[in-house]
Symmetry: none
Subunit: 248 residues, 2 copies
């Protein structure tokens, strides 16, 4: 582990605790409000809450791993020799990124066949994106990092393309008052996703050592909160609006 | 405990954490979605979630047992002297394998008498299979391992035979759109079950020492995730489809 200052340690420590609170609160909100929406949209809220629940679990593990890697006594900070485990994030994304895309597909209310085929295909590509990213995250060598970053960008670009082109016919067929909400949900996915490849290559952009590590950890945490908790709440608003039109 | 490398330790550590997240998420999903299906199929989802809940508990124990068996400080790994507890897996299977078979029987919607007799008989044979496997798992001597493996294979082969022959009349009587789903569910059971006797005898196939141990632990974890979490979600899809035909 890099030697960092106490204030750098604290920033990351507090960011992780904030993530536990934010993800946990979003989970409880989404599941408690499940009964408030029309039955056909409840599965979308189950899955939205599942994404933030899985993230809550992993942020508790990440927090403990960070806390175990350093020891702060008075004005001195030292490394304990325990490694900070990077793998938690990737295990989390392997489960949550496919589920996030399934959330979006579920609120669109497509035919069963289309829901299945899109969920399966999006899910596989999202998992592939995460798996290809991992070897580069743990690599210390810059060229290895760059190779895996590039490989991971192939399913990334494919998914962004599909979100804009592959889904556009289905989005056009949505009721007028829902269409703009789904377009925004799609933008939230794409905008928050753009954080990840940038955070990933921060070390290659000249950020090195302790400031790079703090930047990467805080950056991923903010991106995760936007992509999971904020996106989940946004899905809730869409589902509430859709439920009203069912009743009406 | 065998001496292993840090990366071998990490692979097993992350596989166990992944199992906790995956089993836990499946449990929450199955229980939350319980209210979405027709009342007569809710017990199948209760039990599917129970299987993954029991597995979540045991993977937390297995994770802690693994973490306690080794100490990693900086670039060195050492054994602490605490044994890694193999019994957790067998206690888990003793409870979950009979329940998994009951899941399959419940979604078939047989008569009450047939449901009871098949559940009882399948459950007893599944428990016997697990009990006969345990002495061989902990044995270090190859011939002892082989004797118990062979004894455990007797109920194993009997159950596979029953799944294909004993259940075939009941499967034939299912509605057409459900039949192929149940046939696939049966294949998921048989295909994932085949992992276990293979993983069990890995040490006899020339895999020895640390790589055998890592192979056994990761192999069992993948097999468990497929047989419990993925199988449970598949049961959910069958039950959703059956509920629609009830309403229709």
């Amino acid at each position: 582990m890099d030697i960092i200052s106490i204030s750098q340690f604290d920033i990351v420590y507090n960011a992780f605790s904030f993530a536990i609170a934010g993800m946990g609160a979003a989970t409880l909100f989404l599941w408690l409000e499940r009964s408030q929406v029309a039955p056909q949209y409840r599965t979308a809220l189950t899955i939205s809450g599942l994404v933030t629940a899985i993230a809550t679990y992993h942020y508790i593990r990440i927090f403990n791993s960070w806390d175990g890697a350093y020891e702060v006594v008075g004005n001195t900070i030292s490394v304990t020799g325990q490694a900070f485990n990077h793998a938690y994030r990737y295990v989390d994304w392997l489960l949550t990124v496919p589920l996030l895309l399934i959330e979006l597909i579920l609120v669109m209310g497509l035919s069963r066949k289309e829901t299945y085929s899109k969920s399966l295909w999006f899910g596989v590509m999202a998992a592939l994106m995460v798996i290809l990213g991992y070897p580069g995250e743990t690599a210390t060598d810059i060229s290895t990092k760059l190779v895996w970053w590039t490989l991971g960008m192939i399913p990334f670009v494919y998914l962004v393309y599909q979100l804009f082109v592959g889904l556009s016919a289905s989005i056009q067929s949505q009721p007028a008052e829902i269409k703009s909400l789904i377009v925004t949900a799609r933008w939230i996915i794409v905008a928050t996703w753009c954080f990840y490849p940038i955070v990933y290559i921060l070390p290659l952009l000249g950020f090195e050592g302790s400031s790079a590590m703090v930047g990467v950890q805080v950056g991923y945490t903010i991106a995760d909160l936007l992509a999971k908790a904020v996106f989940g709440i946004y899905i809730y608003f869409i589902v509430v609006r859709k439920s009203e039109s069912v009743k009406g």
